[in-house]
């Protein structure tokens, strides 16, 4: 067998598979988002731009009605995802520092502890929060028993519950890139900064933060992307008040049966994701040149 035939034999099956079953679905979403919704579900094969019009405001008001609620939910999803990134960052940064200074064996064990939830079921971990946050759940029982509150808190099915759930699910993804950046931190630079008279705050903002920035950006991207389109967390913990764009997409496909509109919403999610990735890779490239 010649080298090039061999290479083709390695490449062809996988690229063909992904070309059909990965690119195919993405393309068909793009096509469907520009088709007319059929009267009883399904589509009619004619061009139609008002699926986007319903979201962004140029619907004709007769066949399709512009509702600001779609844009609101979209913005809320972006907001929730950004908040999740921020909270994960604040939670993980000190911990990553702490872990990086442990003796090697303890460090490995901590990394194992952070990765372990990734191996256990997402739905099971969310379900646990359902038990904790319920009106009669563990949190309210504890707070009532200690006398901190007199009436049960309403946390479940609120926006706070959604953000809490997102943070809980995403936190390991923030931790790992942060940890590897902090672990690679040049300690002598920190010492030099302190020796030269910089205080702790200055050393942090001028030396530590810039050096760990790639880890922060990496973690932010990995947390932001799955958060924006998430629909399991708001479905289990959010109720009507915590609806995110993922729930809208799901509804259009499984209950409202308006596929073109659902496809338009999915296209917007995909656009946000691609924009985030492009931004991150441009940042990484400029950082590599600097």
């Amino acid at each position: 067998m010649r080298q090039s035939t061999f290479l083709a034999a390695l490449l062809a099956p996988a690229t063909l598979f992904l070309g059909v079953f990965f690119l195919g679905p993405l393309l068909i979403i793009a096509v469907f988002s520009l088709l007319t919704p059929g009267l009883y579900g399904g589509v009619e094969w004619s061009f139609y731009h008002q699926n986007y019009g319903r979201i962004f405001g140029w619907a004709d008001g007769i066949m399709e009605i512009y509702e600001p609620v779609y844009l609101q939910i979209l913005l809320r999803s972006l907001g929730f995802a950004a908040l999740t990134v921020g909270l994960c960052l604040v939670i993980c940064y000190p911990v990553a520092f702490w872990v990086a200074r442990l003796p090697p064996r303890a460090r490995l064990f901590c990394l194992f502890l952070v990765t372990l939830p990734f191996f256990s079921s997402l739905i099971v971990r969310l379900y646990a929060w359902l038990l904790i946050l319920k009106p009669s759940g563990l949190l309210n029982q504890t707070l009532l028993a200690t006398g901190l509150i007199q009436t049960p808190l309403e946390i479940l099915y609120t926006q706070s519950a959604v953000v809490l759930g997102l943070v809980y699910v995403m936190v390991p993804f923030m931790f790992l890139p942060l940890y590897s950046a902090i672990d690679n931190l040049d300690r002598s630079m920190v010492e030099a900064s302190m020796d030269l008279g910089a205080n702790r705050v200055q050393t942090f903002t001028k030396v530590v933060l810039p050096q760990t920035l790639p880890g922060i950006i990496g973690g932010a991207v990995i947390v932001f992307i799955p958060s924006v389109g998430n629909f399991i967390v708001p479905d289990v913990l959010g109720g009507a008040k915590g609806l995110m764009v993922g729930n809208l997409v799901e509804q259009q496909f499984l209950s409202a049966r308006n596929w073109p509109f659902g496809a338009a919403l999915a296209m917007i999610v995909m656009g946000v994701v691609l924009a985030t990735l492009l931004y991150a890779s441009a940042r990484a490239r400029s950082a590599a040149h600097a």
């Binding site: 992904l18 679905p25 702490w98 079921s121 739905i123 099971v124 904790i132 997409v249 994701v273």
Partner: protein
Amino acid sequence: MRSLLTLWSLAFFAFIYAPLAVIVAYSFNANPVNMMIWDGFTLDWYRGLFGAAVERPASDALYIENTDQLLAALRTSLTVAFFTTTIATVLGTSLAIALGRGRFVGQKALGGFLLLPMMMPDIVLGIGLLIFFLTLGMQLSLLTIIIGHCTFLISYVFVIVQARLAGLDPALEEASADLGASPFVTLRKVLIPQLAPGILGGALLAFVISMDDLVITYFIAGTDNTTLPVFIFGMIRRGVKPEINAIATLIILSSVVIAGLGLWLRARKTPA
């Protein structure tokens, strides 16, 4: 300062593990009505899962479809994960080898493209696959679930095997070629044995993610096939019953075992 940092970190690990501990603890709670109010220790929910008759309120009589459906869902999950893992491992590994050792036009672009399936939100891929299969007139079945899982798991295997390949010395393969071995023989006798830990690690990850996938499966499973996560999702939506704690505990337990196994494999491949 130092102790504050320690306290914060311990709180962090408590935050990660407390919810799991709650499930495990309450899976032994005897209260059949409100499972969050402790009413003594029981193994009934576990016994119920394994087919024993369990006494429960009459209002729940209709609900006990559990055991059979649960086992069917578990079987579906295992079947899907088995085939997905096999296909994704073969395709992902061959991509990693082709990109790591070959020279061809568009190599860099392909490498970038292969990261995309991991970053694509699962809801987008899920509905995309749904429309795609239905437009092509394919019946939603085990096959569509397996195809769906492979679309993103190939990339995971690719990334892990590629990392392993990057650390290998190409001189061994060159020596093998110089000594007259064909590319296929070099692949089988020289490259694959060296890549084995990476391939195994990729396969393990693919298996775990396939077993746990909820969103994509939810859209393309159709009505006849339910995987374990989709089944549990459905149970939670219908209103939770005590058995679910026992199921969840068993899932947590098995994931600890699998993760431990994975780590042990990783520790073995780098004797440091």
